[in-house]
């Protein structure tokens, strides 16, 4: 009896995604990434106690996402805020893709001040200076686009938030490989965003139960 109940729960749990019975396709492939550029050390405006790494802070990573031809009304994302924290005078993660409407927290994990702000048109915000124990305001990104996040104090800190009109996105690994599962079948635009100047896209059609392999070579 109890056993039967447990089974039912498991089945129910498994069945839950199966409710949207169509979301069964997947896509994978390789985005050809550009070589990382060495960041030139610059004079800092402020002296900090935090060791600033000399190594490049941006091994290029692509954000791969699918835009549906028929825009989904699925705003189920951003139920809970995601985090872009500051750690060792770096944003973590440095590249953060989110769906429109997602709230982001910017907790300071360092022992020094940070001042996170953005002048990007997609989302202007300025959290002011804050320390580890202070909790800055949560920012909701309500427009799609690219938001460059700075720290006023540490000029090498640089974060990018990619605000997307789709729940289907994934960061590639450092070698450019990506894989997105549980996709509903249909026609999509497949995009890989590497920088504002390097966005690649392909039109694809996903069929139920299949896995598509699409590479996005450098243009």
């Amino acid at each position: 009896m109890e056993r039967g109940l447990l089974l039912t729960i498991i089945i129910a749990a498994l069945a839950a995604p199966a409710d949207c019975a169509r979301a069964d396709a997947s896509i994978e492939g390789v985005v050809a990434l550009p070589k990382p550029t060495m960041a030139r050390p610059l004079n800092q405006r402020y002296r900090t106690d935090v060791e600033v790494p000399e190594a490049p802070t941006d091994p290029p990573i692509a954000v791969v996402y699918l835009l549906s031809e028929s825009p989904t009304k699925d705003n189920s994302a951003a139920k809970s805020p995601v985090k872009m924290s500051q750690k060792n005078a770096m944003f973590d993660p440095e590249l953060l893709p989110i769906q429109v409407g997602t709230a982001v927290d910017f907790p300071n994990l360092d022992d020094t001040y940070h001042n996170v702000f953005s002048y990007s048109k997609t989302k202007r915000f300025d959290l002011g200076r804050y320390r580890k124990e202070e909790k800055p305001a949560t920012v909701v990104f309500d427009k799609p686009g690219v938001v460059t996040v700075h720290c006023e104090i540490h000029d090498r800190m640089r974060g990018t938030i990619l605000v997307l009109e789709t729940p289907y996105f994934q960061k590639s690994d450092a070698s450019g490989r990506y894989r997105i599962d549980h996709l509903p079948p249909g026609r999509y635009t497949l995009r890989a965003w590497i920088s504002d100047n390097d966005v690649r896209e392909k039109q694809i059609e996903l069929k139920n139960g299949t896995s598509l392999h699409v590479d996005l070579p450098a243009r």
């Binding site: 405006r45 702000f117 002048y119 990007s120 460059t148 720290c151 104090i153 000029d155 090498r156 640089r158």
Partner: protein
């Protein structure tokens, strides 16, 4: 006089003016350099803070972000916030003059375009004017340094207040990419004249892009300066003289920022020369006045002098008594002076005499040591042969060899006596035409070789080396010479040769006749002489033998050769040996047959001879001499003994020594003559030469003979005396 004064005044005037002008110019130059320095110092102090602020600002993350996002509103808003305290929104207001306020700022974007400030008060609202001023800067943005200082002119015009100093700072993003630049301009207010400075006639300006920004100049002056400065810069001169309406000026200029990649600005300084010209003129008048004064003084002095000079003439004409007494005084003075002069002269003569005496004494000293040296040389064979014979009695069995040795002994002894006789040279004036007997050079060479044998053969053998002596007589020249002196020459040369060959070797002697001269070559295979030694070796007391040498040998040789009217030549090579070449004129006539008296004097008669000498060895030698000739000999050791013997016996001849104790030779002779008027008396003396020279021959003595006396000399004397008698 007038001419001189005029000329001197003229030259002084010229030099003084030139000097003054140069000094003035130097002073102005120094002042200008100081001014530029202080200008730059002020400029640096003023711009330093601004430049630092700009540099800091260029790292502002917000400004970078705004530039990156092209959010120009935020860009200027942030900049105004950041530039608080540096930038005054308007030029007027209660500005602290010590704090420099920027009068405008602008951003360039990455392409060099000027980003308009929009509604933000970034100063200088006349955007068009600013665009004109900044356009060249923006265009060359790529080539500029990270931070640049420059001057720009805002709009047309030529007043310094139009100028702004500008700090341009590049802005780069976190990767070093060019994002744009910040330009901040501020007035060069300290260039503008203060109200209080109005009386200062010095004018300072800036030369920028073929334009002169300076206050208070009218158009023609400005035009002239622009032209002059332009050409001066082309020529690289540091200053020019310009003739403005306000008078002549000296213009200095200097680059304020020679390293800039933008338009170079020059500071220009105008110094009025009016003051210095006034000074010059004043000086000129002073000098002319001084010259006139000098001329006047000159006239006065010359007329005074002329009058003064004519007075004595008047007096002479008058011929006053005063004049006469003065002359007497003068004469007296003159006599005094004369006497003093005479005294001085006699003093001088005495001193000279003293000097001569000293010279002579030192010459005697030299000669004495020379004689000692030579004497030792002649003693060497005497001692040598004597020792050889004494140590090898067996040698005496060889009659021939013994005789040869004895012969050598005699020759050496004769030479020794000749050496001593050379002391005469000091008492007898040097004979210019010394007559020498004719001698055979080859024979002398042979004798010298034999004489020195003890040294070159036995002494060398004792040290284990062999010295060979060879002779070559290519001719047997007859020369007029003193045999013993020539032997001395050869002896010296041979000794030197032996000393020069410590490892053994060979000596060759060669005689020949060349160009009517007897030539003697003495060569050794010894160490040879360096050139410097060769040049000095004839000097007296120059020696290379250390303590063993007197340094007189070769100087003697040289002297003797000269005395024989010969020449001495020395050829020497280090390590190979030395050759001495002596050239002496060949005698014209054959020798007057030096017939030996030995044959003729085979003592016709047997004489009874009394020998008086306190030296037993002299008595012995003389006794032997005379007995050999068959004479009967009696001896006495003193004058007293001699007189006793003379009274008791009959004698045909008395030979006595001069210097004897108790009764000397002269006294003895006198007594003997008193006893027998006709008896011949021969006096022997070691001072023979002295007596001969002084001519103080004792009256009681018939003949004076010098010691050492040879058998020959004795025989000849006896013969002469008895024949005469």
């Amino acid at each position: 006089m007038m001419l001189v004064v005029a000329a001197v005044t003229g030259i002084t005037l010229y030099l003084a003016e030139k000097n003054l002008r140069a000094t003035h110019q130097e002073a102005l130059d120094a002042q200008f350099q100081n001014q530029v320095r202080s200008f730059l110092a002020v400029q640096k102090a003023r711009s330093g803070a601004i430049a630092e602020k700009c540099r800091e600002l260029s790292h502002s993350v917000r400004l970078r972000a705004a530039l990156e996002e092209k959010d120009f509103d935020d860009l200027y808003r942030n900049a105004i916030t950041e530039l608080q305290g540096v930038f005054a929104a308007s030029d007027e207001g209660d500005l602290d003059p010590d704090v420099v306020r920027a009068s405008f700022f602008r951003f360039f974007d990455a392409t060099g375009a000027i980003i308009p400030p929009g509604k933000h008060p970034a100063g200088l609202p006349d955007q068009e004017k600013l665009d004109d001023a900044l356009a060249p800067m923006a265009k060359g943005l790529r080539d500029l340094n990270e931070q640049n200082l420059a001057f720009v002119a805002l709009g047309r015009g030529n007043l310094p207040r139009l100028l702004r100093e500008v700090v341009l700072t590049k802005i780069r993003d976190w990767k070093g990419r060019n994002l744009g630049a910040l330009v901040l301009g501020f007035p060069i207010s300290h260039l503008e004249k203060d109200e209080g400075d109005l009386d200062t006639s010095i004018n300072i300006g800036i030369w920028l892009d073929r334009q002169l920004y300076i206050d208070g100049l009218n158009a023609p002056d400005r035009h002239q300066i622009v032209e002059r400065v332009g050409s001066a810069m082309a020529q690289g001169a540091g200053h020019v003289e310009v003739d403005l309406q306000g008078g002549p000026h000296l213009l200095f200029y200097k680059a304020l920022d020679p390293d800039t990649r933008l338009q170079t600005a020059y500071q220009v300084c105008l110094y009025p020369l009016a003051a210095s010209i006034r000074e010059e003129q004043a000086l000129r008048w002073k000098i002319i006045a001084f010259g006139l004064l000098v001329m006047f003084c000159g006239f006065a002095a010359s007329s005074f002098l002329a009058r003064g000079l004519s007075k004595p003439v008047d007096r002479i004409v008058a011929g006053s008594v005063e004049n006469l007494s003065r002359r007497k005084i003068a004469e007296h003075d003159l006599r005094e002076v004369n006497r003093e002069l005479e005294k001085a002269l006699s003093d001088l003569k005495a001193t000279q005499q003293q000097v001569i005496q000293q010279e002579r004494l030192s010459a005697i000293g030299q000669m004495a040591s020379g004689i000692a040296h030579d004497f030792n040389n002649t003693l060497t064979p005497i001692l040598g042969f004597a020792e050889v014979m004494l140590k090898n009695p067996a040698m005496l069995d060889d009659r021939q060899e013994t005789l040869r040795c004895l012969e050598m002994l005699r020759t050496s002894a004769q030479d020794a006596s000749n050496v001593v006789s050379r002391l005469r040279e000091f008492y007898r004036p040097a004979e210019t035409d010394e007559e020498f007997p004719i001698v055979d050079l080859a024979k002398i060479v042979q004798q010298a070789v034999s004489l020195t044998e003890p040294k070159w053969r036995y002494q060398a053998q004792a040290t284990g080396h062999t010295i060979r002596v060879t002779t070559a007589f290519n001719a047997t020249p007859m020369i007029a010479g003193e045999e013993s002196a020539l032997r001395e020459v050869l002896t010296n040369l041979l000794f030197n040769a032996v000393d020069a060959m410590p490892e053994g070797g060979s000596i060759s002697l060669e005689t020949s006749i060349e160009e009517n001269k007897a030539v003697l070559r003495v060569s050794d295979t010894g160490t040879g002489m360096s050139e410097s030694v060769r040049q000095r070796c004839l000097e007296p007391f120059f020696s290379t033998k250390g303590e063993r040498g007197t340094g007189l040998g070769l100087s003697m040789v040289h002297g003797i050769v000269e005395r024989h009217r010969g020449q001495l030549e020395i050829q020497s090579t280090i390590g190979k040996g030395t050759t001495f070449i002596i050239r002496i004129p060949v005698a014209e006539s054959a020798p007057a047959a030096a017939v030996s008296l030995e044959a003729t004097l085979a003592s016709k008669s047997k004489l009874k001879v009394l020998i008086v000498d306190d030296e037993p060895r002299v008595r012995e030698v003389l006794s032997i001499y005379l007995r050999c000739d068959g004479h009967a000999v009696a001896t006495a050791a003193s004058g007293r003994e001699a007189l006793e013997k003379f009274r008791l016996q009959q004698f045909d001849l008395v030979i006595l020594d001069r210097a004897m104790p108790e009764m000397n030779g002269e006294q003895t002779a006198r007594f003997i003559k008193q006893l027998n008027q006709n008896i011949p008396v021969i006096m022997l003396t070691g001072f023979g030469a002295l007596i001969e020279v002084t001519g103080a021959q004792p009256q009681a003595v018939d003949v004076v003979l010098s010691k050492p006396v040879t058998l020959d000399a004795l025989r000849r004397t006896i013969d002469k005396l008895l024949h005469a008698a």
